[in-house]
Amino acid sequence: MLEDILSGKKKLFADGVQTVLRGQENRNRRVVFLKGNMVSNSRSETRGISALVTSHGVQGFASIADYSSNGADTVLKSATENALFLNTHAPRNKGAFPGYGTGVIPLNRNIVDFEQKRIIEACKTIDDYVVKNCPNIVSRTVVYTEDSQDKIIYTSDAFDGHVTNPRCYIYVMMSAETKDGVPVELFKALGGAGSFEDNFKDVSKYYSDIDELYKRVMDKKEGVYADAGYKTVILGGMLAGMLSHEAVGHTVEADLVRGGSVAGPSLDKRVASDLVTLVDYAHTAFGETAPLPIYLDDEGIKAVDAVLIKDGFLRGYMHNRDTARDHGVTPTGNARGWQFSDEPLIRMRNTAITPGKDKLEDMIASVDDGYYLLESGNGQADLTGEFMFGITMGYEIKNGKLGKALLDTTVSGIAFEMLKTVDMVSDKVIWSSSGFCGKKQMIPVSMGGPELRCKIMIGGR
């Protein structure tokens, strides 16, 4: 854990500007077994200090890989000079950010380190289980990955705090061959927020997940290609999460709204059916701690939920201090940076569609000819809301019953059109928290949702 060496530096903050001083350490652990061969075995720690200085609407940012008192002095001076440079060469002449309160956010969680030996043992145990219990695969990979952020934040006019975001996962990947010798593959991420011991003290609790993964791989090796076209589908919770994040979430990040996203002219207009409510949760969702809780952002704003779509109407955006001022609203605490050397950008946190009242069995029974889409390998969208998700696992639905598994395919659509076709929403939310979002920098995010019945374009062979 970072030692607080920055508390006395507030007195060095320049007058007449708004300053954030951030000390940060990122920690990574990685072990990879590919077909039983350990191909990666590494640990890394990076730490440093950054300063963000805002003056008349322009910002200077500086960082240094020197977590020391001198390092803090250096970045405060450099960031102030950088802001002055822009003020001189490209002035924006904006006023100061409004204040949103001050105080101290207490430490939310300790980061606990574990020996590489235990990590390797856990991976070996999982790998051995796969070897013994998954006989008909042609290849397997077991990956342990851990990343954590430890941040100490001091501000001139907002909240201070010491916050952490540790998470760790074991990815299990399997591939098998179809009768034609074509490889098919799937993976499952096990784990979540917290340190190694929180998630992998006893890896046997994941054996049922591995069994399920194996069953799906075996189903997929007998899979068929989807018929291309505009189809009725049930999107699984992971796909609903992907939709929430990629297709809607990015269009309602206020910096992208400023850049011309489709959400700009859609505020307070219908963008989805009445059944759809979508929220970017800060730290608590549905009465429980969210998968990757955020309590304080990197501008010193206390994190609160951002309600994006309410009962089918677009109601708000995610903000930093700059965009919140321009929109005349209170910022939601979405400004985050990945490394100490990264400036805070508007980023999502735990973005999810809220559950409805339908039962999954009833939803499947209601479809005569369509698909139940469960897993996605990747997804992309642009500011028009046009999205594409790679589908790695799904099943046919024929006459209300699940049929054959699908081979890899793709779905696409325009988010604010597709969401209007949602006519059933299940009562259970499924989260996915292992991913990163890329927007100039990487950042850990979680996304989730219930099953959705809707219409969507699906690609065939």
């Binding site: 400023r258 690609g459 065939g460």
Partner: protein
């Protein structure tokens, strides 16, 4: 560089003190100076200074690695201890190794002293010219930076590679906007060793801007047909990168899922396809001059006249499968041009798409892909018609390179690869 050498010397002595006789390490100091525009206003000036020190240690045939940026004596000691503990925890594996001694060599890449005033002016000029000449373009952001790094790689076999590099990066994102309609986001990206040419006059940047204007005129594509894709160079890079990921990379050779694993020196794609990695090609601004295992990088043919000539194997995987490592671990891709102009290639297409980018799922191990054609235009009877939207394309990576229509004589060199346009047939194209 002196500071980096000093740190490298310190690591050597700490490793010796620890009793580690087989190792490799890498130390880098890097700095970045970066202007950011939010819309068409300068919003942020960012300067960063960072170190990276990484160490790989071998205890017998057990290997462990650690990296960090604390270059104090305490930090380096902790780093070496961390790699040692990782190695101790690892399993014995005789395939783990480092390259035999390569001697000492120094590489120089790009420009070592930045002209930040000129970079600022070039960015201003780009923004102002864009606003003046392209009123139907809405600028979302610009990120323009100068990046400088000094690094030293050493290993226990007396190899030492020193490298100094400095280059400019320009990235702009924008969309067509005529007041009522907005196109999808488009972007232009390049890496440069000088600022002699205004960014807006660089052909591939200008082309992307004009693509976004042209996208405001859409045509409908209601039917489904099999046709030709003319891939712009950036999109061709995506396809070729997927070929590497699915068929050529070490991971798919080691796990046996590459369908080319037994096809070395066999014809795998059309004989007009030549793909090499050439880190010393002068059109590249950045490229990796040596491998992580400690081999000096060389020009490596991967596909020569359609024949598979090499896999991308690091030393570990090569040892594992009884082969030789490839003298390249991060390909500096150069695809040989053809003889026809892209205009002539388009004239030969009866029906298809000119594709700017592909937004699709990761192709399956069998090479099947499907996704959305972005920044793309309909080609009919040899003419580029309007832009298409919500258009899916699907096919097979290898299948389409075996149905090659042509490769253009024009190439695009954006600093990190040299690529022509590639036209491929047999693609299923479907509108909504």
């Amino acid at each position: 560089m002196n500071k980096i050498i000093e740190i490298s010397n310190k690591i050597d002595s700490l490793l010796e003190k620890k009793g580690v006789s087989k190792y490799s390490h890498y130390v880098e100091r890097r700095e970045k100076r970066e202007f950011n525009l939010d819309g068409d206003e300068f919003s942020l000036f960012r300067t960063t200074f960072d170190y990276n020190a990484s160490v790989t240690e071998f205890l017998g045939t057990k290997q462990g690695s650690a990296s960090g940026n604390d270059i104090s004596e305490e930090g380096l000691t902790a780093l070496i201890d961390s790699a040692y503990l990782s190695a101790e925890s690892a399993e014995e594996d005789p395939a783990k190794d480092i390259a035999p001694g390569q001697g000492a060599e120094e590489f120089l890449e790009g420009v070592l002293e930045p002209d930040m005033d000129k970079l600022f002016k070039r960015v201003e000029e780009f923004r102002d010219t864009l606003n003046e000449k392209y009123p139907k373009i809405k600028l979302f952001s610009i990120v323009a930076s100068y990046n400088r790094a000094d690094s030293v790689y050493r290993n226990a076999n007396k190899t030492e590679f020193r490298e100094k590099s400095g280059y400019y990066v320009f990235s702009a994102t924008f969309a067509g906007n005529d007041g009522t309609k907005t196109t999808g986001m488009n972007g232009a990206y390049g890496i440069f060793k000088d600022l002699n040419t205004p960014f807006i006059e660089i052909p591939y940047i200008k082309d992307e801007i004009e693509t976004s204007v042209a996208q405001l005129t859409e045509v409908s594509l209601p039917d489904k047909f099999e046709g030709v894709l003319v891939l712009k160079p950036g999109c061709a890079l995506d396809f070729v990168s997927s070929i590497f990921g699915n068929y050529i990379s070490g991971a798919v050779i080691l796990d046996g899922t590459s369908q080319w694993k037994d096809k070395l020196n066999e014809k795998v794609v059309d004989e007009r396809v030549n793909i090499v990695s050439d880190p010393f090609d002068e059109r590249l601004v950045v490229s990796k001059k040596y491998t992580n295992d400690g081999f000096k990088a060389e020009k490596v043919p991967f596909v020569e006249k359609g024949v598979l000539k090499n896999f991308l194997l690091n030393l570990y995987i090569a040892n594992k499968i009884g082969s030789k490592p490839t003298m390249c671990d991060s390909p500096a891709l150069v695809i040989e041009p053809g003889t026809k102009s892209v205009d002539d290639i388009i004239k030969s297409v009866k029906k298809g798409l000119l594709v700017g980018s592909f937004s699709g799922g990761q192709p399956g191990a069998n090479g099947e892909f499907s996704g959305v054609a972005k920044n793309s235009f309909l080609i009919e009877n040899g003419e580029v018609k309007g832009a298409v939207s919500e258009t899916m394309i699907s096919g097979n990576l290898v299948g389409c390179l075996n149905k090659l229509v042509d490769i253009s004589k024009e190439t695009e060199a954006a600093g990190y690869a040299v690529l022509p346009y590639m036209a491929v047939d047999g693609i299923t194209i479907s509108g909504k």
